[in-house]
Amino acid sequence: MQDIKLKATEKRGLHELEAGKDLLGWDEVTQGSILPSFEGDASNIAHLKQEERDYSHYNSYTATVASWRVVKPVFNMDVCIDCQNCWVWCPDTSIISRDKQMLGIDYDHCKGCEVCVEVCPTNPKSLLMFNEHEDIENALSQWPEKKKKEKK
């Protein structure tokens, strides 16, 4: 069962996007609403994993959109074949994979779109949607059996 804060640094999902705090005055906002993504020199950033990067507070990494989600994908490691389809297709970079091994979901940024479930090729699926409030352990215990091929 995956950790809900899998690979998260202390900055991930710190604040709600729509939160009404930390609102700056006109004299404090950035020029041209141009937002730097990282703190400090980011020359080597492409070679660093997410959890090694020093994201700036402007970067969506530090925000969470979890409150928008009504259904969530749950990952079942026992069925997964590490094909990386979900990682390729996820529109919000919310599939966490390291060394081509699927590890789980970034629940701070996943919006519950279900694309990962749709593209998962295993039988049964390695990702399935559950109610947002469903306990992950409970969800895994309800996993369906392998489907038999229908006779033509």
Partner: protein
């Protein structure tokens, strides 16, 4: 570095388009993305030939529309290059959406606008309807009255817009055909002098700085948008002293002095005409002749920097005259002329509040003659003597058919 040296004489015979294109060459514009449209085409066409013939180390990007042209300029400018283009009329209208993107992202693009009427009916001649379309777009707008000024102001435009305390895009306007296609004496700077004046481009938040990746074009809803637009407006308002400083520096190397508001024979003027573009030179001749021939103390106030609007300078220039004719070379579309409204607002905050009337004139390139200008001055003189506006407040100058006018002064 450019491979070829462009030979220049101290005095050249250039039209406004050629003059502007030479300024683009001397400023070493890195990227020009353009789509051709009459009457501005030669500016971008010439830049393209300077690149092709090795006179400048730059990139000419051919695109499928003016919307794409300004979009490519936005991308190139955000990447960290010196960027310019040119357009007119319908092309300007098609660019309109992206003009707001450029100013909102604080990208110091220079746009040469050769003013031309907007269709329909289709017309290729000069009026100011395209210029007016840009007046809320957040760009600095400078107006040239002849080819020399089109050249001078284009060089100043880079220096103003790229100043780190400004960082805003700049339009340099010239009147279609009257300026753009009339060959006149132009005294260019040497390539060295011109480039030294403009200076190297110093990027801000450039996307090609891989050590500091940035997001351009962020979304801001009701909790952020207002603050960003206010900051942008303040930057535009605060560009006024920078424009003045750049004009001063330009005078030192060229001997040619520019001001955001140019007054002519206003010291003792009783009546004034306020105008934009080539009309100003016509009005100056008319004012001089009226003083000599009819004893009317006429003066001309011309707006060099249409944006940021010189509210205070306009007021200072006009507060002691008795009657003012404000000329709008754009179909007002169901209102008083926009320029009239702005000048009137400035005058309303003076103690004496001169009389103000509005003249719509010269649409679609209709000639504005010295006699037309004189008639405006004469009507202002009649107003000044009567102490009230004796004509309709909005009139049409140089229009065929029955006299057309709207609204009269309210007198108790």
């Amino acid at each position: 570095m450019p491979k070829e040296i462009f030979e220049l004489q101290d005095r050249e015979v250039w039209d406004g388009n050629y003059a502007a294109s030479q300024a683009m060459r001397q400023a070493n514009v890195d990227v020009m993305a353009a789509y051709p449209i009459t009457p501005s085409t030669p500016i971008v066409e010439n830049y393209g030939s300077y690149v092709a013939n090795g006179y400048i180390d730059g990139e000419f990007v051919m695109v499928e529309s003016e919307h794409a042209a300004m979009s490519a300029c936005v991308g190139a400018s955000a990447s960290g290059g010196r960027v310019a283009t040119a357009t007119s009329s319908q092309g300007f209208a098609l660019m309109a959406e992206v003009l707001y993107q450029a100013s909102g992202m604080r990208l110091p693009i220079v746009l040469n606008v050769v003013n031309r009427a907007l269709a329909s009916p289709l017309n290729v001649r000069g009026d100011h309807s395209d210029m007016y379309l840009g007046r809320d777009s957040g760009w600095i707008q400078l107006g040239a009255f002849n080819a020399q000024e089109a050249y001078d102001l284009a060089l100043c435009a880079f220096k103003i817009g790229e100043d780190h305390s400004v960082r805003l895009p700049v339009m340099v306007h010239q009147d279609g055909f009257i300026t753009s296609h009339t060959a006149q004496n132009v005294y260019p700077l040497s390539d060295e002098e011109a480039y030294k004046f403009v200076g190297d481009f110093k990027p801000v938040d450039d996307m090609l700085d891989f050590s500091r990746p940035v997001t351009y074009g962020a979304q801001t809803e009701e909790d952020w948008h207002f603050e960003h637009k206010a900051k942008q407006h303040k930057a535009l308002m605060d560009s006024r002293p920078v424009i003045d400083k750049v004009f001063e520096e330009f005078e030192k190397i060229s001997g040619r002095k520019y001001k955001r508001v140019e007054s002519y024979m206003m010291e003792d003027a009783e009546v004034a005409l306020v105008g934009l573009g080539t009309t100003v030179e016509t009005a100056r001749v008319a004012a001089k002749q009226l003083r000599d021939e009819e004893g009317i103390k006429a003066g001309v106030v011309a707006i060099r920097a249409f944006r940021p609007f010189p509210f205070d300078l306009v007021r200072d220039a006009l507060e002691n005259v008795k009657s003012v004719g404000v000329t709008d070379r754009s179909s007002p579309g169901g209102a008083m002329g926009a320029f009239f409204n702005e000048v009137s607002a400035a005058l309303y905050t003076t103690p004496k509040r001169p009389l103000v009337t509005n003249y719509i004139y010269g649409l679609g390139g209709r000639d504005f003659s010295i006699e037309d200008a004189k008639n405006i001055f004469r009507e202002q003189k009649a107003n000044a003597d009567a102490g009230y506006v004796t004509t309709d407040i909005q009139q049409f100058s140089g229009l065929r058919g029955p006299k057309l006018g709207f609204f009269q002064t309210k007198r108790s």
